[in-house]
Symmetry: C2
Subunit: 143 residues, 2 copies
DNA sequence: CTTGTTATTGCAATTAGTTGCAATAACAAG
DNA sequence: CTTGTTATTGCAACTAATTGCAATAACAAG
């Protein structure tokens, strides 16, 4: 288990504690490298930490999201999903077929610069989701 | 109660039904003209419709959102909020003080054009939320 | 290594949101 | 107005998520 990367030792320096629960949840998200729901995360982590509770998973995910170590999103129906904060990106999701496309943060940066100029707000949302139609479904509806 | 506006009669033409529950929920959102949580909406509507249940409020809000008559957002902590879909806008929210600024959809339209050009996705999210710092809090943290 | 402080967890209770199903009531057609 | 079809509701059970509190265990200091 990787427990000595920069983010993690930074946590300790802030007075937060490195618990097995936090490390295991981070590890699961890191190796999954995908969006996971809290209950899926619970299932995966409880295998290694038998005493774990769902309440802890929810609290830990909120905590890690606040600290910027994981990213949250609601990709449509229902539950929120979490993923490790590795690279800054956003999502385009097709409402018709569910197809998802990642776009780099650079594509949006210009917009944030414009927000700052127009309103004085410095935006730093690093994980937005935009809904619409993918190229295939767009072609289908055009017929 | 306004029950004969274009959106509403369009619903009927689609085979959906105009129930007192739907009309009352729309009316509450219309007169509030603000973001409301499902439980707040329930409180306001049940005064006029004693038999109403929360389940119906949730189902109706999902339905109205799918139909594009109301807009959903999660403006930070926890619950989703709903508002009447009157004008197309987005929100900038300060993570520090909670201050909120509305921005017109025009500001973002260029980005959507760029998505279409780069990826073929036609995005139509008309109610995004971006988090960051408002001018005041930005100045405070700079000190 | 031992000890004290207190952040964090587990537990259990609570609140938020969803869903299956039978009863109800919109509304189109006669 | 009456009738039939079926979308929608209420009810109740269920799943998802949050929270208060006492017990636990990180970890800093000695």
């Amino acid at each position: 288990m990787i427990d000595s990367n920069p983010e993690v030792s930074w946590l300790r320096s802030q007075g937060y504690r490195l618990t097995p629960q936090r490390l295991a949840i981070l590890e699961v998200l890191r190796s999954a490298n995908d969006h996971l729901t809290p209950s899926k995360i619970y299932q995966l982590v409880v295998a290694d930490l038998p005493g774990l509770t769902e309440a802890t998973v929810y609290r830990t995910l909120n905590f890690l999201a606040e600290q910027g170590l994981v990213l949250v999103a609601h990709l449509g129906r229902g539950q929120l999903v979490y993923e490790i904060a590795e690279h800054e990106h956003h999502h385009l999701i097709c409402k018709e077929c569910g197809e998802m496309k990642e776009i780099d943060h650079l594509e949006i940066k210009t917009l944030y610069d414009q927000f700052l100029e127009d309103t004085g707000y410095q935006i730093n949302t690093i994980h937005s989701t935009f809904f619409g139609l993918c190229p295939e479904c767009l072609a289908d509806t055009a017929q």
